[in-house]
Protein backbone atom coordinates (compact mmCIF):
# COMPACT_ATOMS: atom_id res chain seq x y z
CA UNK A 1 0.00 0.00 0.00
CA UNK A 2 2.76 2.32 0.99
CA UNK A 3 4.65 1.62 -2.17
CA UNK A 4 1.61 2.26 -4.24
CA UNK A 5 0.99 5.51 -2.48
CA UNK A 6 4.54 6.68 -2.96
CA UNK A 7 4.49 5.56 -6.52
CA UNK A 8 1.38 7.61 -7.16
CA UNK A 9 2.96 10.54 -5.42
CA UNK A 10 6.12 10.33 -7.49
CA UNK A 11 4.06 10.01 -10.61
CA UNK A 12 1.98 12.99 -9.67
CA UNK A 13 5.06 14.99 -8.82
CA UNK A 14 6.76 14.19 -12.13
CA UNK A 15 3.65 15.06 -14.05
CA UNK A 16 3.35 18.38 -12.26
CA UNK A 17 6.99 19.14 -12.94
CA UNK A 18 6.51 18.41 -16.60
CA UNK A 19 3.41 20.56 -16.85
CA UNK A 20 4.80 23.49 -14.93
CA UNK A 21 8.21 23.18 -16.55
CA UNK A 22 6.60 23.12 -19.99
CA UNK A 23 4.66 26.21 -19.27
CA UNK A 24 7.79 27.97 -17.96
CA UNK A 25 9.77 27.02 -21.05
CA UNK A 26 6.93 28.24 -23.22
CA UNK A 27 6.82 31.57 -21.45
CA UNK A 28 10.58 32.03 -21.52
CA UNK A 29 10.55 31.45 -25.25
CA UNK A 30 7.94 34.16 -25.61
CA UNK A 31 9.64 36.67 -23.36
CA UNK A 32 12.98 36.27 -25.16
CA UNK A 33 11.31 37.16 -28.42
CA UNK A 34 9.55 39.96 -26.66
CA UNK A 35 12.83 41.54 -25.57
CA UNK A 36 13.98 41.59 -29.17
CA UNK A 37 10.76 43.02 -30.54
CA UNK A 38 10.64 45.76 -27.93
CA UNK A 39 13.79 47.35 -29.28
CA UNK A 40 12.15 48.10 -32.60
CA UNK A 41 9.40 50.37 -31.33
CA UNK A 42 9.13 53.20 -33.83
CA UNK A 43 7.99 56.81 -33.67
CA UNK A 44 4.36 57.35 -34.68
CA UNK A 45 3.67 58.19 -38.30
CA UNK A 46 2.50 61.78 -38.63
CA UNK A 47 1.79 62.25 -42.34
CA UNK A 48 -1.05 59.97 -43.26
CA UNK A 49 -3.48 59.36 -46.05
CA UNK A 50 -7.11 58.63 -45.27
CA UNK A 51 -9.06 56.27 -47.48
CA UNK A 52 -6.77 55.94 -50.47
CA UNK A 53 -3.22 57.01 -51.10
CA UNK A 54 -2.98 60.38 -52.84
CA UNK A 55 -6.56 61.40 -52.03
CA UNK A 56 -7.44 63.06 -48.71
CA UNK A 57 -4.57 63.31 -46.28
CA UNK A 58 -4.27 64.21 -42.62
CA UNK A 59 -1.53 65.00 -40.11
CA UNK A 60 -1.44 63.42 -36.69
CA UNK A 61 -2.01 65.89 -33.86
CA UNK A 62 -1.15 64.71 -30.37
CA UNK A 63 -3.74 65.08 -27.63
CA UNK A 64 -6.46 66.24 -30.03
CA UNK A 65 -9.06 64.69 -27.73
CA UNK A 66 -7.81 65.73 -24.27
CA UNK A 67 -10.55 63.77 -22.48
CA UNK A 68 -8.76 60.52 -23.34
CA UNK A 69 -5.43 61.91 -24.45
CA UNK A 70 -6.19 60.69 -27.96
CA UNK A 71 -4.42 61.90 -31.08
CA UNK A 72 -6.80 62.78 -33.93
CA UNK A 73 -5.63 59.75 -35.90
CA UNK A 74 -3.32 56.77 -35.57
CA UNK A 75 -1.63 55.66 -38.76
CA UNK A 76 -0.02 52.51 -40.00
CA UNK A 77 3.74 52.04 -39.71
CA UNK A 78 3.65 49.95 -42.86
CA UNK A 79 1.57 52.05 -45.22
CA UNK A 80 0.90 55.44 -43.52
CA UNK A 81 -2.81 54.84 -44.00
CA UNK A 82 -5.09 56.04 -41.20
CA UNK A 83 -6.05 53.07 -39.05
CA UNK A 84 -7.90 54.62 -36.20
CA UNK A 85 -9.75 57.84 -35.49
CA UNK A 86 -9.47 59.49 -32.09
CA UNK A 87 -11.67 62.21 -33.51
CA UNK A 88 -13.89 61.02 -36.37
CA UNK A 89 -14.99 64.56 -37.22
CA UNK A 90 -11.48 65.95 -37.41
CA UNK A 91 -11.29 68.83 -39.91
CA UNK A 92 -14.88 68.53 -41.11
CA UNK A 93 -17.64 71.04 -41.77
CA UNK A 94 -21.42 70.70 -42.33
CA UNK A 95 -22.17 68.97 -45.61
CA UNK A 96 -24.43 71.70 -46.97
CA UNK A 97 -27.56 71.15 -48.98
CA UNK A 98 -28.21 67.92 -50.76
CA UNK A 99 -30.43 67.35 -53.77
CA UNK A 100 -33.63 65.53 -52.90
CA UNK A 101 -34.18 62.08 -54.26
CA UNK A 102 -37.45 61.74 -56.12
CA UNK A 103 -38.40 58.39 -54.63
CA UNK A 104 -39.15 57.38 -51.07
CA UNK A 105 -35.57 56.36 -50.25
CA UNK A 106 -34.80 59.85 -49.14
CA UNK A 107 -32.01 58.73 -46.93
CA UNK A 108 -31.50 60.02 -43.45
CA UNK A 109 -29.70 63.19 -44.35
CA UNK A 110 -32.57 65.48 -43.37
CA UNK A 111 -32.78 64.09 -39.88
CA UNK A 112 -29.17 63.94 -38.86
CA UNK A 113 -26.02 65.92 -38.59
CA UNK A 114 -23.86 65.25 -41.64
CA UNK A 115 -20.37 66.59 -42.05
CA UNK A 116 -17.78 66.29 -44.80
CA UNK A 117 -14.11 67.00 -45.00
CA UNK A 118 -13.69 70.01 -47.28
CA UNK A 119 -11.19 69.55 -50.06
CA UNK A 120 -11.75 72.77 -51.92
CA UNK A 121 -9.83 74.68 -49.27
CA UNK A 122 -6.75 72.70 -50.35
CA UNK A 123 -6.97 74.59 -53.63
CA UNK A 124 -5.97 77.73 -51.75
CA UNK A 125 -2.39 76.57 -51.91
CA UNK A 126 -2.56 75.98 -55.61
CA UNK A 127 -5.60 77.32 -57.33
CA UNK A 128 -6.49 75.81 -60.70
CA UNK A 129 -7.37 79.28 -61.86
CA UNK A 130 -3.76 80.26 -61.24
CA UNK A 131 -2.98 78.87 -64.69
CA UNK A 132 -6.49 78.55 -66.05
CA UNK A 133 -7.09 82.26 -65.82
CA UNK A 134 -8.17 82.62 -69.43
CA UNK A 135 -4.79 84.16 -70.32
CA UNK A 136 -2.02 81.71 -69.53
CA UNK A 137 -4.21 78.87 -70.70
CA UNK A 138 -7.00 80.10 -72.98
CA UNK A 139 -10.59 79.14 -72.28
CA UNK A 140 -11.54 76.40 -74.74
CA UNK A 141 -14.25 77.29 -77.23
CA UNK A 142 -16.04 73.96 -77.06
CA UNK A 143 -16.04 70.77 -75.00
CA UNK A 144 -14.51 68.63 -77.72
CA UNK A 145 -11.75 66.30 -76.62
CA UNK A 146 -8.24 67.09 -77.79
CA UNK A 147 -4.69 66.20 -76.81
CA UNK A 148 -3.23 68.36 -74.05
CA UNK A 149 0.31 68.82 -72.80
CA UNK A 150 -0.32 69.06 -69.07
CA UNK A 151 -1.73 66.84 -66.32
CA UNK A 152 -0.33 63.59 -67.64
CA UNK A 153 0.14 62.64 -64.00
CA UNK A 154 -3.63 62.54 -63.68
CA UNK A 155 -4.61 61.29 -67.10
CA UNK A 156 -1.97 59.88 -69.38
CA UNK A 157 -3.88 60.44 -72.57
CA UNK A 158 -7.03 62.57 -72.31
CA UNK A 159 -8.29 61.13 -75.57
CA UNK A 160 -8.53 57.82 -73.77
CA UNK A 161 -10.06 58.99 -70.53
CA UNK A 162 -10.54 56.04 -68.19
CA UNK A 163 -14.08 57.03 -67.31
CA UNK A 164 -17.21 56.58 -69.36
CA UNK A 165 -15.53 54.39 -71.96
CA UNK A 166 -14.55 57.22 -74.24
CA UNK A 167 -17.87 59.03 -74.01
CA UNK A 168 -16.74 61.84 -71.73
CA UNK A 169 -13.70 63.95 -71.18
CA UNK A 170 -12.31 66.62 -68.81
CA UNK A 171 -14.75 69.47 -69.49
CA UNK A 172 -17.81 67.28 -69.03
CA UNK A 173 -17.09 67.45 -65.32
CA UNK A 174 -14.69 70.37 -64.85
CA UNK A 175 -16.00 73.88 -65.43
CA UNK A 176 -14.47 75.34 -68.59
CA UNK A 177 -14.55 78.86 -67.24
CA UNK A 178 -13.92 78.34 -63.51
CA UNK A 179 -11.47 75.48 -63.13
CA UNK A 180 -11.79 75.50 -59.33
CA UNK A 181 -15.28 74.09 -59.73
CA UNK A 182 -16.97 71.09 -61.19
CA UNK A 183 -19.91 71.53 -63.51
CA UNK A 184 -23.03 69.47 -64.14
CA UNK A 185 -24.79 68.87 -67.44
CA UNK A 186 -26.97 71.89 -67.01
CA UNK A 187 -23.93 74.08 -66.56
CA UNK A 188 -24.39 74.62 -62.81
CA UNK A 189 -21.15 74.97 -60.92
CA UNK A 190 -20.56 72.34 -58.23
CA UNK A 191 -18.12 72.58 -55.34
CA UNK A 192 -15.24 70.11 -55.24
CA UNK A 193 -16.54 69.29 -51.75
CA UNK A 194 -19.79 67.90 -53.15
CA UNK A 195 -18.85 65.69 -56.09
CA UNK A 196 -21.88 63.50 -55.31
CA UNK A 197 -24.10 66.10 -56.94
CA UNK A 198 -22.24 65.51 -60.18
CA UNK A 199 -21.50 61.77 -59.94
CA UNK A 200 -25.06 61.06 -58.82
CA UNK A 201 -26.48 62.50 -62.01
CA UNK A 202 -25.20 59.48 -63.94
CA UNK A 203 -24.77 56.87 -61.20
CA UNK A 204 -28.25 57.15 -59.75
CA UNK A 205 -28.48 53.70 -58.24
CA UNK A 206 -25.20 53.98 -56.39
CA UNK A 207 -26.12 57.49 -55.36
CA UNK A 208 -29.38 56.28 -53.82
CA UNK A 209 -27.45 53.62 -51.88
CA UNK A 210 -25.00 56.25 -50.73
CA UNK A 211 -27.82 58.46 -49.48
CA UNK A 212 -29.17 55.51 -47.49
CA UNK A 213 -25.75 54.85 -46.03
CA UNK A 214 -25.29 51.43 -47.57
CA UNK A 215 -22.75 52.52 -50.18
CA UNK A 216 -19.60 54.32 -49.18
CA UNK A 217 -18.00 55.06 -45.90
CA UNK A 218 -19.17 56.89 -42.82
CA UNK A 219 -17.47 57.54 -39.53
CA UNK A 220 -18.78 58.79 -36.24
CA UNK A 221 -22.00 57.66 -34.61
CA UNK A 222 -24.00 54.58 -35.59
CA UNK A 223 -27.07 56.00 -33.89
CA UNK A 224 -29.96 57.08 -36.08
CA UNK A 225 -29.83 60.86 -36.17
CA UNK A 226 -26.31 60.91 -34.73
CA UNK A 227 -23.46 62.94 -36.16
CA UNK A 228 -21.68 61.27 -39.05
CA UNK A 229 -18.91 62.14 -41.40
CA UNK A 230 -20.04 61.22 -44.90
CA UNK A 231 -17.24 60.29 -47.24
CA UNK A 232 -17.82 61.67 -50.70
CA UNK A 233 -17.23 59.81 -54.00
CA UNK A 234 -13.77 61.15 -54.75
CA UNK A 235 -12.40 60.28 -51.33
CA UNK A 236 -12.38 56.61 -52.35
CA UNK A 237 -12.65 56.52 -56.13
CA UNK A 238 -10.36 58.19 -58.63
CA UNK A 239 -12.76 59.41 -61.34
CA UNK A 240 -9.97 59.55 -63.90
CA UNK A 241 -9.02 55.88 -63.67
CA UNK A 242 -12.16 54.34 -62.22
CA UNK A 243 -12.82 52.41 -65.39
CA UNK A 244 -9.65 50.36 -64.82
CA UNK A 245 -9.83 50.03 -61.04
CA UNK A 246 -12.83 50.63 -58.85
CA UNK A 247 -10.29 51.32 -56.12
CA UNK A 248 -6.65 52.11 -56.80
CA UNK A 249 -4.62 49.10 -55.65
CA UNK A 250 -2.67 49.76 -52.47
CA UNK A 251 -0.13 48.12 -50.22
CA UNK A 252 -1.75 45.81 -47.66
CA UNK A 253 -0.98 45.89 -43.97
CA UNK A 254 1.38 43.30 -42.55
CA UNK A 255 0.32 39.68 -42.67
CA UNK A 256 -0.31 37.89 -39.37
CA UNK A 257 2.49 35.95 -37.74
CA UNK A 258 2.80 32.35 -38.84
CA UNK A 259 2.08 29.74 -36.21
CA UNK A 260 5.12 28.92 -34.11
CA UNK A 261 7.60 26.72 -35.92
CA UNK A 262 6.05 27.22 -39.34
CA UNK A 263 8.30 28.90 -41.86
CA UNK A 264 6.09 29.29 -44.86
CA UNK A 265 2.56 28.62 -45.91
CA UNK A 266 2.71 27.11 -49.36
CA UNK A 267 1.15 23.72 -49.45
CA UNK A 268 2.44 20.93 -51.54
CA UNK A 269 6.07 21.41 -50.62
CA UNK A 270 8.43 19.18 -48.68
CA UNK A 271 8.37 21.23 -45.49
CA UNK A 272 5.28 23.21 -44.92
Amino acid sequence: MNFRNNFTKIGFFTLSCLLIGGSIIYQTAYSQDAEQAKKESAAPVTKCFESMEGYTSVSRIENAVPQYGYPNVKCSQTTSGVLWYGDPYDGTKPMGDMPKLKDDTRGDYDSEEAVVKPRESKLNYFECTGCHDGDTVPVPKDKKARAIDAHDDIVENPLEMMHGRGAIWCLDCHSATNRNKLVDHQGNEISMDQPQKLCGSCHGEVYADWRMGIHGKRTGSWVKGGKKRWWVCTECHNPHTVEVNRFDPLKPEQAPELPRGMKKTEHNTEEH
Binding site: Y26, Q27, Y30, S31, D33, A34, A37, K38, S41, E50, S51, M52, Y68, G69, Y70, K74, S76, G81, V82, L83, W84, Y85, P88, D108, D209, M212, G213, I214, H215, G216, K217, R218, T219, G220, S221, W222, V223, K224, G226, W231, C236, F247, P249, L250, K251, P252, E253, Q254, A255, P256, E257, L258, T265, H267, N268
Partner: protein, 346 residues
Protein backbone atom coordinates in the same frame (compact mmCIF):
# COMPACT_ATOMS: atom_id res chain seq x y z
CA UNK B 1 -19.25 32.16 3.92
CA UNK B 2 -16.41 29.83 4.65
CA UNK B 3 -16.79 29.11 8.40
CA UNK B 4 -19.91 27.03 7.99
CA UNK B 5 -18.88 25.35 4.78
CA UNK B 6 -15.54 24.34 6.14
CA UNK B 7 -17.21 22.88 9.22
CA UNK B 8 -19.48 20.76 7.12
CA UNK B 9 -16.51 19.62 5.10
CA UNK B 10 -14.66 18.74 8.27
CA UNK B 11 -17.41 16.37 9.29
CA UNK B 12 -17.66 14.77 5.92
CA UNK B 13 -14.10 14.06 5.00
CA UNK B 14 -12.16 13.77 8.19
CA UNK B 15 -8.76 12.59 7.17
CA UNK B 16 -8.23 15.04 4.33
CA UNK B 17 -6.16 17.42 6.39
CA UNK B 18 -4.35 19.10 3.62
CA UNK B 19 -7.47 20.34 1.90
CA UNK B 20 -8.92 21.82 5.04
CA UNK B 21 -5.65 23.51 5.88
CA UNK B 22 -5.45 24.89 2.44
CA UNK B 23 -8.89 26.44 2.67
CA UNK B 24 -8.09 27.85 6.09
CA UNK B 25 -4.87 29.37 4.86
CA UNK B 26 -6.68 30.95 1.97
CA UNK B 27 -9.01 32.67 4.40
CA UNK B 28 -6.11 33.89 6.50
CA UNK B 29 -4.29 35.14 3.42
CA UNK B 30 -7.35 37.08 2.32
CA UNK B 31 -7.67 38.79 5.69
CA UNK B 32 -3.96 39.50 5.85
CA UNK B 33 -4.04 40.89 2.34
CA UNK B 34 -6.95 43.17 3.18
CA UNK B 35 -5.15 44.50 6.23
CA UNK B 36 -1.94 45.17 4.35
CA UNK B 37 -3.55 46.96 1.41
CA UNK B 38 -2.83 50.58 2.14
CA UNK B 39 0.81 50.19 3.11
CA UNK B 40 3.31 48.99 0.49
CA UNK B 41 2.76 48.94 -3.30
CA UNK B 42 3.94 45.34 -3.59
CA UNK B 43 1.38 44.28 -1.02
CA UNK B 44 -1.26 46.34 -2.76
CA UNK B 45 -0.51 44.50 -5.96
CA UNK B 46 -0.77 41.16 -4.23
CA UNK B 47 -4.07 42.20 -2.71
CA UNK B 48 -5.42 43.36 -6.04
CA UNK B 49 -4.43 40.05 -7.56
CA UNK B 50 -6.14 38.20 -4.77
CA UNK B 51 -9.24 40.38 -4.91
CA UNK B 52 -9.46 39.65 -8.60
CA UNK B 53 -9.10 35.95 -8.09
CA UNK B 54 -11.82 35.91 -5.47
CA UNK B 55 -14.12 38.16 -7.46
CA UNK B 56 -17.60 36.95 -8.40
CA UNK B 57 -19.19 36.76 -11.83
CA UNK B 58 -19.64 40.28 -13.12
CA UNK B 59 -23.35 39.99 -13.83
CA UNK B 60 -24.02 38.64 -10.35
CA UNK B 61 -22.09 41.32 -8.51
CA UNK B 62 -23.97 44.06 -6.67
CA UNK B 63 -23.61 47.63 -7.87
CA UNK B 64 -21.33 48.33 -4.95
CA UNK B 65 -19.08 45.39 -5.77
CA UNK B 66 -18.97 46.43 -9.40
CA UNK B 67 -18.00 49.94 -8.47
CA UNK B 68 -15.24 48.70 -6.21
CA UNK B 69 -13.99 46.36 -8.89
CA UNK B 70 -13.99 49.09 -11.57
CA UNK B 71 -12.13 51.47 -9.29
CA UNK B 72 -9.55 48.82 -8.52
CA UNK B 73 -8.97 48.16 -12.20
CA UNK B 74 -8.80 51.84 -13.13
CA UNK B 75 -6.22 52.42 -10.45
CA UNK B 76 -4.15 49.44 -11.50
CA UNK B 77 -4.20 50.23 -15.25
CA UNK B 78 -3.47 53.89 -14.64
CA UNK B 79 -0.41 52.93 -12.64
CA UNK B 80 0.70 50.19 -14.98
CA UNK B 81 0.45 52.21 -18.21
CA UNK B 82 1.28 55.59 -16.76
CA UNK B 83 -1.78 57.32 -18.15
CA UNK B 84 -5.29 58.04 -16.95
CA UNK B 85 -7.29 54.94 -17.83
CA UNK B 86 -11.04 54.65 -17.53
CA UNK B 87 -12.86 51.35 -17.21
CA UNK B 88 -16.48 51.87 -18.15
CA UNK B 89 -19.38 49.85 -16.87
CA UNK B 90 -21.87 51.38 -19.33
CA UNK B 91 -25.01 49.21 -19.55
CA UNK B 92 -26.36 47.74 -22.82
CA UNK B 93 -28.29 50.13 -25.06
CA UNK B 94 -32.09 49.84 -24.78
CA UNK B 95 -34.06 48.42 -27.70
CA UNK B 96 -31.05 47.56 -29.83
CA UNK B 97 -29.83 44.35 -31.41
CA UNK B 98 -26.48 44.92 -33.04
CA UNK B 99 -25.78 43.56 -36.49
CA UNK B 100 -22.98 43.82 -38.99
CA UNK B 101 -22.80 43.57 -42.76
CA UNK B 102 -19.69 43.23 -44.87
CA UNK B 103 -19.55 43.53 -48.64
CA UNK B 104 -17.39 40.78 -50.09
CA UNK B 105 -17.53 42.42 -53.49
CA UNK B 106 -15.95 45.59 -52.13
CA UNK B 107 -13.34 44.31 -49.68
CA UNK B 108 -9.86 44.70 -51.17
CA UNK B 109 -8.03 42.72 -48.51
CA UNK B 110 -5.95 45.62 -47.22
CA UNK B 111 -6.15 44.41 -43.57
CA UNK B 112 -6.66 47.91 -42.25
CA UNK B 113 -9.64 46.65 -40.23
CA UNK B 114 -7.35 44.10 -38.58
CA UNK B 115 -4.86 46.71 -37.43
CA UNK B 116 -7.54 49.20 -36.42
CA UNK B 117 -8.99 46.53 -34.18
CA UNK B 118 -5.61 45.96 -32.55
CA UNK B 119 -5.25 49.71 -31.89
CA UNK B 120 -8.71 50.01 -30.42
CA UNK B 121 -8.92 46.85 -28.39
CA UNK B 122 -5.52 46.69 -26.73
CA UNK B 123 -4.48 43.32 -28.08
CA UNK B 124 -1.05 41.92 -27.38
CA UNK B 125 1.22 43.27 -30.12
CA UNK B 126 3.70 40.42 -30.23
CA UNK B 127 4.51 37.18 -28.46
CA UNK B 128 1.75 36.32 -28.64
CA UNK B 129 0.58 38.46 -31.53
CA UNK B 130 -3.20 38.59 -31.27
CA UNK B 131 -5.53 39.77 -34.00
CA UNK B 132 -9.28 39.30 -33.78
CA UNK B 133 -9.98 39.71 -37.49
CA UNK B 134 -8.52 37.38 -40.08
CA UNK B 135 -8.83 38.28 -43.76
CA UNK B 136 -9.07 35.20 -45.94
CA UNK B 137 -7.98 35.49 -49.52
CA UNK B 138 -9.93 33.23 -51.81
CA UNK B 139 -9.36 32.22 -55.36
CA UNK B 140 -12.19 33.47 -57.49
CA UNK B 141 -14.74 30.72 -58.03
CA UNK B 142 -13.36 28.51 -60.72
CA UNK B 143 -14.46 24.96 -61.09
CA UNK B 144 -12.62 24.46 -64.36
CA UNK B 145 -10.51 21.34 -64.14
CA UNK B 146 -7.10 22.65 -65.07
CA UNK B 147 -5.01 20.32 -67.21
CA UNK B 148 -1.93 20.48 -65.01
CA UNK B 149 -3.88 19.21 -62.04
CA UNK B 150 -5.61 16.43 -63.89
CA UNK B 151 -3.06 13.75 -63.16
CA UNK B 152 -2.86 14.67 -59.51
CA UNK B 153 -5.02 12.95 -57.00
CA UNK B 154 -6.87 11.03 -59.64
CA UNK B 155 -8.49 7.74 -58.63
CA UNK B 156 -6.45 5.04 -60.29
CA UNK B 157 -6.97 1.38 -60.87
CA UNK B 158 -4.46 -0.58 -58.88
CA UNK B 159 -3.75 -4.27 -58.68
CA UNK B 160 -6.58 -4.44 -56.19
CA UNK B 161 -9.11 -2.81 -58.49
CA UNK B 162 -10.56 0.65 -58.70
CA UNK B 163 -11.74 1.70 -55.28
CA UNK B 164 -11.87 5.42 -56.03
CA UNK B 165 -8.85 5.82 -53.79
CA UNK B 166 -6.91 9.00 -54.37
CA UNK B 167 -3.40 8.33 -55.59
CA UNK B 168 -0.75 10.67 -56.91
CA UNK B 169 -0.75 14.30 -55.93
CA UNK B 170 -1.73 14.88 -52.35
CA UNK B 171 -4.57 16.14 -50.24
CA UNK B 172 -3.79 19.71 -51.19
CA UNK B 173 -3.82 19.15 -54.87
CA UNK B 174 -6.73 16.91 -55.64
CA UNK B 175 -8.34 17.20 -59.01
CA UNK B 176 -11.09 19.78 -59.39
CA UNK B 177 -10.11 21.66 -56.26
CA UNK B 178 -10.53 25.38 -56.63
CA UNK B 179 -10.97 28.31 -54.35
CA UNK B 180 -7.76 27.81 -52.41
CA UNK B 181 -7.95 29.99 -49.33
CA UNK B 182 -5.13 31.54 -47.37
CA UNK B 183 -4.66 34.36 -44.92
CA UNK B 184 -0.92 35.03 -44.94
CA UNK B 185 -0.90 36.65 -48.39
CA UNK B 186 1.55 39.50 -48.83
CA UNK B 187 1.57 40.92 -52.36
CA UNK B 188 2.88 44.41 -53.21
CA UNK B 189 -0.60 45.65 -53.90
CA UNK B 190 -4.15 44.53 -53.16
CA UNK B 191 -6.63 43.68 -54.52
CA UNK B 192 -4.93 40.98 -56.53
CA UNK B 193 -6.34 39.79 -59.76
CA UNK B 194 -8.68 36.79 -59.52
CA UNK B 195 -8.92 36.97 -55.77
CA UNK B 196 -11.60 38.05 -53.39
CA UNK B 197 -11.31 38.65 -49.70
CA UNK B 198 -13.38 37.37 -46.84
CA UNK B 199 -12.67 38.90 -43.43
CA UNK B 200 -13.72 36.71 -40.52
CA UNK B 201 -14.20 37.79 -36.93
CA UNK B 202 -16.64 36.87 -34.17
CA UNK B 203 -20.04 36.55 -35.79
CA UNK B 204 -21.93 37.37 -32.56
CA UNK B 205 -24.08 34.28 -32.96
CA UNK B 206 -27.63 34.27 -31.68
CA UNK B 207 -27.03 30.67 -30.61
CA UNK B 208 -23.35 30.88 -29.72
CA UNK B 209 -21.53 27.58 -29.57
CA UNK B 210 -18.89 29.20 -27.38
CA UNK B 211 -21.40 30.13 -24.70
CA UNK B 212 -22.75 26.60 -24.59
CA UNK B 213 -19.24 25.22 -24.22
CA UNK B 214 -18.08 27.54 -21.47
CA UNK B 215 -18.12 25.63 -18.15
CA UNK B 216 -18.08 28.76 -15.99
CA UNK B 217 -20.42 31.02 -17.97
CA UNK B 218 -17.61 33.53 -18.22
CA UNK B 219 -18.76 34.14 -21.76
CA UNK B 220 -22.37 35.07 -22.39
CA UNK B 221 -24.66 36.97 -24.73
CA UNK B 222 -25.46 40.49 -23.59
CA UNK B 223 -28.94 42.02 -24.15
CA UNK B 224 -27.72 43.76 -27.32
CA UNK B 225 -26.77 40.40 -28.79
CA UNK B 226 -23.04 40.81 -28.34
CA UNK B 227 -21.23 37.82 -26.89
CA UNK B 228 -18.92 39.12 -24.17
CA UNK B 229 -16.30 37.66 -21.85
CA UNK B 230 -15.80 38.40 -18.18
CA UNK B 231 -12.01 38.10 -18.29
CA UNK B 232 -11.79 37.77 -14.54
CA UNK B 233 -14.18 34.84 -14.53
CA UNK B 234 -12.50 33.05 -17.46
CA UNK B 235 -10.47 30.06 -16.27
CA UNK B 236 -8.61 29.68 -19.56
CA UNK B 237 -9.84 26.18 -20.33
CA UNK B 238 -10.26 27.11 -24.03
CA UNK B 239 -13.45 25.09 -24.50
CA UNK B 240 -15.04 28.02 -26.33
CA UNK B 241 -12.08 28.21 -28.68
CA UNK B 242 -12.72 24.62 -29.67
CA UNK B 243 -16.46 25.08 -29.96
CA UNK B 244 -16.49 28.19 -32.14
CA UNK B 245 -16.90 27.21 -35.80
CA UNK B 246 -15.44 30.53 -36.99
CA UNK B 247 -12.06 30.52 -35.25
CA UNK B 248 -13.05 33.81 -33.69
CA UNK B 249 -11.47 33.33 -30.29
CA UNK B 250 -7.91 34.09 -29.30
CA UNK B 251 -6.05 32.96 -26.22
CA UNK B 252 -3.42 34.86 -24.27
CA UNK B 253 -0.74 32.19 -24.14
CA UNK B 254 1.58 34.56 -22.30
CA UNK B 255 1.47 37.92 -20.60
CA UNK B 256 0.28 40.29 -23.37
CA UNK B 257 2.76 42.84 -24.73
CA UNK B 258 0.92 46.13 -24.88
CA UNK B 259 3.15 49.21 -25.26
CA UNK B 260 2.01 51.99 -22.93
CA UNK B 261 2.19 54.73 -25.56
CA UNK B 262 -0.09 52.74 -27.87
CA UNK B 263 -2.55 51.63 -25.22
CA UNK B 264 -6.13 52.85 -25.60
CA UNK B 265 -7.06 54.29 -22.20
CA UNK B 266 -10.80 54.38 -22.86
CA UNK B 267 -11.90 50.90 -21.93
CA UNK B 268 -14.91 48.87 -20.87
CA UNK B 269 -14.93 46.05 -18.32
CA UNK B 270 -16.37 43.60 -20.86
CA UNK B 271 -14.56 45.10 -23.82
CA UNK B 272 -11.06 46.31 -24.45
CA UNK B 273 -9.55 46.60 -21.00
CA UNK B 274 -6.06 45.08 -20.90
CA UNK B 275 -6.18 41.34 -20.54
CA UNK B 276 -3.89 39.05 -18.62
CA UNK B 277 -2.05 35.84 -19.29
CA UNK B 278 -4.31 32.81 -19.65
CA UNK B 279 -7.63 34.36 -20.66
CA UNK B 280 -9.68 34.22 -23.82
CA UNK B 281 -10.60 37.24 -25.90
CA UNK B 282 -12.41 38.05 -29.13
CA UNK B 283 -14.27 40.70 -31.12
CA UNK B 284 -17.06 42.44 -29.18
CA UNK B 285 -18.12 44.84 -31.96
CA UNK B 286 -16.03 47.34 -29.94
CA UNK B 287 -18.40 47.18 -26.98
CA UNK B 288 -16.77 50.23 -25.38
CA UNK B 289 -17.56 52.28 -28.47
CA UNK B 290 -20.95 50.98 -29.58
CA UNK B 291 -22.53 51.27 -26.13
CA UNK B 292 -21.37 54.86 -26.41
CA UNK B 293 -22.97 55.44 -29.83
CA UNK B 294 -19.80 55.19 -31.89
CA UNK B 295 -19.14 52.93 -34.90
CA UNK B 296 -16.75 50.00 -34.30
CA UNK B 297 -13.14 50.78 -35.16
CA UNK B 298 -13.05 48.42 -38.17
CA UNK B 299 -16.04 50.18 -39.74
CA UNK B 300 -14.23 53.49 -39.52
CA UNK B 301 -10.95 52.09 -40.80
CA UNK B 302 -12.16 50.30 -43.91
CA UNK B 303 -11.04 52.46 -46.85
CA UNK B 304 -13.66 51.12 -49.23
CA UNK B 305 -16.72 51.26 -46.99
CA UNK B 306 -17.19 47.50 -47.10
CA UNK B 307 -18.19 47.40 -43.43
CA UNK B 308 -21.62 48.44 -42.19
CA UNK B 309 -22.96 48.38 -38.67
CA UNK B 310 -26.23 49.18 -36.97
CA UNK B 311 -29.39 48.23 -35.15
CA UNK B 312 -31.14 45.15 -36.51
CA UNK B 313 -34.40 46.17 -34.84
CA UNK B 314 -34.55 49.45 -36.78
CA UNK B 315 -35.82 48.93 -40.35
CA UNK B 316 -34.20 52.24 -41.34
CA UNK B 317 -30.73 51.23 -40.19
CA UNK B 318 -27.90 50.59 -42.63
CA UNK B 319 -27.73 46.86 -41.93
CA UNK B 320 -31.45 46.37 -42.27
CA UNK B 321 -31.47 48.18 -45.60
CA UNK B 322 -28.70 45.92 -46.79
CA UNK B 323 -30.63 42.86 -45.66
CA UNK B 324 -33.64 44.19 -47.55
CA UNK B 325 -31.95 45.10 -50.82
CA UNK B 326 -28.77 43.04 -51.30
CA UNK B 327 -27.82 39.42 -51.74
CA UNK B 328 -26.90 38.35 -48.23
CA UNK B 329 -25.28 35.24 -46.80
CA UNK B 330 -24.39 33.95 -43.39
CA UNK B 331 -21.11 32.13 -42.91
CA UNK B 332 -21.43 28.38 -42.13
CA UNK B 333 -25.17 28.64 -41.87
CA UNK B 334 -25.47 24.88 -41.50
CA UNK B 335 -24.18 25.04 -37.92
CA UNK B 336 -27.34 26.81 -36.79
CA UNK B 337 -25.39 29.39 -34.84
CA UNK B 338 -27.41 32.22 -36.43
CA UNK B 339 -24.69 34.83 -36.79
CA UNK B 340 -25.59 38.51 -36.66
CA UNK B 341 -22.68 39.13 -39.00
CA UNK B 342 -23.82 39.13 -42.62
CA UNK B 343 -21.82 39.03 -45.81
CA UNK B 344 -23.35 40.66 -48.86
CA UNK B 345 -22.74 41.13 -52.53
CA UNK B 346 -23.41 44.36 -54.38
Amino acid sequence: MSEERIDIKKERDDGDNTRRDFLKNMGIAAVAGAAALSAVPADAEAKVELAEHLQGHFELMTDGQKKECIERLEKRYTEEFGKKTTVSNAPPVKGVLFGYALSISKCIGCRRCVKACVQENNQSRHDPEIEWIRVLKMEKGNLAFSADKLDKGYPETSALGNHGVQVGGNAYNAVGVSGETEHYYEPDKVPEKDAFYFPVQCQQCEKPACVKACPTQATYRDPNGIVVIDYNWCIGCRMCLLACPYWARRFNWAQPNLPAEDMNPKTHYLGNRPRMNGVMEKCTFCLQRVRDGRYPACVEACPVGARKFGNLLDPESEVRKILATKQVLRFKEEYNTYPKFFYYID
